[in-house]
Amino acid sequence: MRFALDEYAHLKSPIHRWNPQYKLIGLLTLMFAFATVEDLRLLPVISTLTIILYLLSRLPLSFLLTRLRYPGIFLFTVVAILPFFSGETVIWQWGIITLRQEGLLAVVLIVCRFLAIFITGLVLFGTSSFLNLIKAMRSLGLSPILADMMLLSYRYLFELAYQLNTMQRSTRLRGFKPTQFSWRNLQVYAALAGSLLVRSYQQSQEIYKAMQLRGYGTSMKSPQSKRSIDVYSVIALIITLAIAIGLIGLEFLL
């Protein structure tokens, strides 16, 4: 499993400089604006915007390409079906295979929208460490219960993945054949999952003790961090919001 988008969070670029709080608001709004697009004439607009954004972020292309693999599968199913079954205007025919215009256009819309939103999301999460983004969400009002859950889950995800891996390896060393589908195999998998749950539960009890010992749960109010206005980030936010609103407005008018 490839985890974490933090590998390029340390680079320097206009997007990396953008304060995570403002970046979160700006780029999420932009993503939603992309999602509202239905008119095909706006597709070149959102595509250009996305390319500019990605170039500004200085994230390598390989980063994008490796990430596209999994979501590509779901899209592929949609892409494979719609142009051949959806719509009445036939633009090409070969035997029983008919290519229909409406379906094709629908696919173009979906794929463009997907890429625009997906790439913007990558830029958002690839240019700040996950930890900083959680802190930004916290200061934007995210419930401390959710923020704490996120931090702890994130922290122990890797350990648990490692533990599962070790358990799976030990089953194979004892002759388990994972490629068979049988009742017994299912039980082994159930035991693996169950063990993981039990271990993580036990570990969570120890963790809670450790947290309590350092004041968790009864905390005193921490003095507010000095909030200095980061002009650059504010301007970037205003520009992004303007573009987003502009897009939605255009879509509405067209």
């Binding site: 931090l151 922290r155 890797f158 570990q203 003790k209 004041g215 005193m220 003095p223």
Partner: protein
């Protein structure tokens, strides 16, 4: 490691430091409807002492230590930490005085990076994030961990995690340090390194539970042995480890 004197985080904590160490009187602990694990334990750990807590697995060392930090409540008896009686209502204040190192540092380093872990405690006790971060960076640098402050915890080695956990509990400037099996999983280099660091720490009382008898003789002057719920033996570490009859009667290995 040089003698660091980190500033007191909060001046009111100086009131609690009245040189009493840990005093336990007639402590009894058992789980509901079970036989007592700790039977009328009484002990005094004075400022300036480094004490080893020994005993076979299952004799109740961890239970005793958890009682000392208020993670478990005794059935009866008293615990005084720096002169303050440990009670459920004052746990938050008193815990600041005791740093407790878990057997498993992974359970103690629960934030995504070690810097976040080290500032966790101080932030809970009212220190501003900026100040806590500055102090944390100094502390981690003292421990030689300046390069890894922003790395995810799971990428650190066992020895680095041990030190990071130690830094995290020292961030609150406790006057008492309790460590549960601190050399577990450490190679000889790290065990030696830890033995060199511990005596230099600015704490008044150091209590270490350990099976590592060789290591313990380097770090402690006094040793107590817990057996069947009671403190059977309380004598200088060196003397205990050289007395094979005592070791045998306590169930400790002769060939350590």
């Amino acid at each position: 490691m040089s003698q660091t004197t980190p500033e007191q985080i909060n001046s009111s904590s100086t009131d609690l430091v009245d040189k009493n160490g840990i005093i336990v009187e007639d402590l009894v602990f058992s789980y509901p409807n079970q036989n007592p694990i700790l039977e009328e334990i009484s002990l005094t750990l004075k400022p300036g002492e480094q004490i080893a807590l020994l005993g076979k697995t299952g004799t109740g060392k961890s239970t005793l230590m958890e009682n000392l930090v208020g993670l478990k409540q005794p059935n009866s008896g008293k615990i005084l930490i720096q002169g303050i009686s440990l009670e459920p209502k004052n746990l938050f204040e008193v815990r600041r005085q005791i740093g407790f190192g878990f057997q498993e540092p992974n359970d103690q380093l629960f934030m995504p990076t070690i810097l976040e872990d080290v500032i966790f405690g101080p932030c809970n006790y009212g220190v501003s994030p900026e100040e806590a971060t500055e102090q944390a960076q100094e502390l981690l640098a003292d421990f030689g961990l300046a390069d890894v402050t922003h790395r995810p915890v799971h990428e650190l080695s066992g020895g680095q995690k041990r030190l990071a956990a130690l830094a995290a509990i020292l961030a609150l400037n406790p006057s008492i340090l309790i460590l549960d099996e601190p050399t577990n999983g450490l190679d000889p280099w790290w065990r030696r390194h830890l033995a060199e660091i511990l005596p230099e720490l600015p704490v008044q009382v150091l209590l270490i539970a350990s099976h590592d008898l060789n290591w313990v003789r380097r770090v402690t002057q006094r040793a107590m042995v817990l057996q069947q719920g009671k403190i059977r033996v309380d004598m200088p570490t060196e003397q205990l480890l050289q007395d094979s009859s005592v070791l045998e009667s306590c169930g400790l290995p002769l060939d350590y």
